[in-house]
């Protein structure tokens, strides 16, 4: 059982409470969803539950957090970990070992579990989460979805009574999300308490017993999941939709001919690996938002890197408006936003970050454009803040703004709405649509069905044999 009683917490040097007067109770076999706009205190709630607050993060704490009958202040984090497991939003955050098997074994070894039992638990976890083929892989070689599965498998192999999940669907494809929902349903039925913090709501309909909507560190609403279907209520708190239609298959496929951006004869393989693309051809139209779809590991991000010139093709030609372009030109005419925003921010203010981009492309944009784009992305009030001090959602909007202000012919966004609330997702969706309408070719690699539903006008489906069209079956 997990119980919060009048919990108020303030981080060191912060001038306001991160959470304020929180009381909640989650009993065995109960699933609670905590949602709300970015920065409302959801992550702090998790840190309070798993003991990181106050044992790792200092600060001012009043009230009581009780896990399995014991106050968190009375035992260390690792002891709390015997009863409660936490799956973080960024799975890499919780990896200590560097390959999958070692990661699955790591905590067991520190608990002095006999090696034979560890082996059994690793195999059971691998079977349950479909990790058999990845057991000897380096964690850095895994896709985000695979990392998520490894992290979850690692936690569940320790058999905790309470499971806390921070944005568990953020990096999973819709199929894996459905699998996760089923799996969590099984865990719930077996008596495990679930506390799920997520912006994406649609996949939780059949799982959740109680919904807590947070705002400014407080619990603003206690609802049933069905009450979230109220559009006005969701709009008030900046929440995402509770129902999402998977319309990926209804989107028309791009073809291997007739498009402003044509890629022909593309061949590429990573060193020592089987080719990902062999004599691959596709034509991408301008003015469209194209969803790049395919299973994990099929080469979606590699394709994006190839057509932006980040990776060298073994062979192949890329033409824009009928003219072949060199990799160097591609770098200039395309823009890609990768998943990890921390690596992409260099300057000491948000304004300087955008100005630096415009200075590199002075013929394309100017100072007025910087103001305009900050307004569009709702980051104008942050203009003088250090980019690295922004929240995850704010950083995400800034890196996309940096990509858009270059006015590239090809704009590629890799999971642009991962971990974003409904209001921020709407901002990004509107920009994507506007930018495509201005004549750019926008490619989106995303598992976010809600985003795909809002913005995509066609799809490019990759499979192990190359490009999938309406008539081809893998």
């Amino acid at each position: 059982m997990l119980k919060f009683t009048d919990v108020t917490y303030t981080y060191p040097f912060a001038d306001r409470q991160a959470v304020d007067q929180i009381s909640l109770q989650a009993d065995a076999g109960q699933a609670i969803l905590c949602t709300g706009s970015s920065g409302c205190g959801k992550s702090t709630l998790i840190r309070l539950a798993n003991g990181l607050v106050p044992h790792f993060f200092q600060g001012s704490l009043t009230g009581k957090v009780v896990v399995a009958g014991t106050d968190n202040t009375d035992r260390p984090i690792h002891a709390i970990g015997h009863d409660l497991g936490t799956l973080f939003q960024d799975p890499e955050q919780q990896f200590f070992a560097l390959n999958v098997t070692d990661e699955l074994a790591f905590a067991h070894e520190w608990r002095n579990t006999p090696p034979n039992l560890i082996r059994q638990r690793i195999m059971a976890a691998a079977d349950r989460f479909g990790l058999q083929d990845l057991l000897e892989s380096s964690i850095h070689e895994l896709s985000e979805g695979q990392k998520q599965k490894v992290a979850l498998a690692s936690i569940m192999s320790l058999a905790p009574h309470i499971l806390i999940l921070d944005e568990p669907s953020a990096n999973l494809d819709p199929e894996a999300t459905r699998e996760l929902a089923l799996l969590l349903g099984e865990l719930k039925r077996s008596g495990i308490t679930l506390l799920i913090v997520d912006h994406r709501l649609y996949w939780l309909r059949d799982l959740i017993d109680q919904v807590l909507v947070m705002e400014d560190g407080r619990i603003a609403e206690r609802l049933t999941f069905q009450q979230l279907d109220d559009d006005t209520l969701r709009a008030r708190y900046g929440l995402r939709n509770t129902t999402v239609h998977d319309h990926r298959n209804q989107l028309s496929c791009v073809t291997s001919h007739a498009g402003a951006i044509s890629i022909s004869g593309l061949t590429f393989a990573y060193q020592g690996k089987a080719p990902l693309f062999t004599d691959f051809s596709v034509a991408l139209p301008k003015g469209m938002v194209i969803g790049i779809i395919g299973d994990n590991g099929v080469g979606k991000t590699t394709f994006a890197r190839l057509i932006t010139g980040l990776l060298p093709m073994k062979s192949g030609t890329i033409c824009i408006d009928g003219k072949p372009v060199t990799p160097k030109e591609l770098m200039h005419r395309s823009s890609i936003v990768l998943q990890n925003t921390d690596h992409q921010l260099h300057m000491h203010t948000v304004r300087k970050e955008l100005e630096a981009v415009t200075q590199r492309h002075v013929d394309r944009a100017d100072a007025a454009a910087v103001d305009a784009i900050m307004q569009e992305f709702n980051i104008y009030h942050l203009a003088e803040r250090h980019p690295q001090s922004l929240s995850g959602g704010e950083k995400q909007r800034l890196v996309i703004a940096c990509a858009v202000i270059r006015q590239p012919d090809i704009l590629i966004l890799d999971e642009p709405t991962s971990g974003l609330d409904g209001a921020n997702m709407a901002v990004i969706a509107a920009t994507i649509t506007r930018f495509a309408r201005q004549g750019a070719c926008v490619l989106i690699i995303s598992h976010d069905l809600e985003l795909l539903e809002r913005v995509c006008t066609c799809r490019m489906e990759l499979c192990s044999t190359g490009l999938k069209t309406e008539n081809t079956k893998e």
């Binding site: 798993n50 990181l52 044992h55 790792f56 260390p76 984090i77 690792h78 970990g81 936490t86 960024d90 890499e92 955050q93 919780q94 990896f95 200590f96 070992a97 560097l98 390959n99 098997t101 070692d102 074994a105 790591f106 905590a107 067991h108 070894e109 520190w110 608990r111 002095n112 579990t113 006999p114 090696p115 560890i118 082996r119 000897e136 892989s137 380096s138 850095h140 070689e141 932006t308 980040l310 770098m331 200039h332 823009s335 890609i336 990768l338 990890n340 921390d342 690596h343 992409q344 921010l345 260099h346 300057m347 000491h348 630096a356 981009v357 590199r360 492309h361 690295q388 940096c402 270059r406």
Partner: protein
């Protein structure tokens, strides 16, 4: 799994060596190279250590490491000659003299790299613990070692982000726009390093690192004939190099 590099290399004989063997070789090598002052003796040990590292079959990492050492050596030779030109009283330093620090570094890097490329982090942790080192020493040491792969991965992604933004990333950029290049590389690196150290601390806490009174070893390693063989060969080379050193004309570098 390797300690310090992100991509998986082939499983080699070195992976089956006990981590204690590799630690012992590194420790003894670091002491012996201090004692050696003759070029032939150090050359022999360098050659042996290169062969030892080649057991990892990580050719790319090997070549890059050796090139970095070579670059540092050439830079040192260049500066020493420059100083001689500016201050002739300092006296010229012969190539043989300059070789000594280079060969010493080579031996140390080779033995450490062989360990880093073929050892699990948990192996290092449990070995450090079995040596009865205090908690406050071996946990930070292990976290530091674990930090390296994340740092390498961050550097790769930061370099990629710089290229995406359209900035050149080459020696010319560093020469002609040093502040800009340093900013582009080091600002995200600094913040990522801070975040990674926090993340690793959290991961270690949540997994109970350092709290168990006894630790089980999932991948049990015992001293095998191969360990004894490698130790015997290593001892032979250490002794041989000391003997050569004793009978060689000793070359000193800056009094060392």
């Amino acid at each position: 799994m390797q300690v310090s590099f992100t991509s998986n290399g082939p499983e080699t004989a070195l992976h089956h060596l006990d981590v204690r063997t590799k630690m012992l070789i590194s420790a003894v090598a670091s002491i012996v190279v201090i004692l050696l002052k003759s070029v032939p003796a150090l050359a022999l040990l360098s050659l042996a250590s290169c062969c030892y590292l080649m057991l990892t079959r990580r050719w790319r990492v090997m070549v890059i490491s050796w090139l970095v050492i070579l670059l540092l050596w050439i830079t040192a030779v260049g500066f020493m000659n420059l100083m001689h030109l500016i201050m002739p009283k300092m006296g010229a330093t012969g190539m043989a003299n300059m070789l000594i620090p280079f060969l010493r570094s080579l031996v140390l890097v080779n033995t450490l790299l062989a360990m880093a490329l073929s050892t699990r982090i948990q192996g290092i942790l449990t070995t450090l613990r079995s040596l009865h080192l205090p908690y406050w020493l071996y946990i930070p040491a292990a976290v530091m070692v674990r930090f390296l792969p994340s740092l390498v991965e961050d550097m790769r992604q930061i370099a990629e982000a710089v290229r995406i933004k359209g900035y050149p990333l080459n020696p010319a950029a560093l020469l002609f726009s040093p502040w800009q290049t340093i900013r582009l590389l080091f600002v995200p690196m600094l913040f990522r390093a801070l975040r990674t150290s926090d993340d690793l601390g959290i991961a270690a806490e949540l997994k109970g690192v350092g709290y168990g009174s006894t630790i089980s070893r999932f991948r049990e390693q015992r001293f095998s004939r191969f360990d004894y063989g490698i130790l015997a060969v290593s001892c032979t080379f250490f002794v041989l190099s000391l003997v050569i050193n004793a009978y060689s004309k000793v070359t000193t570098f800056m009094g060392m």
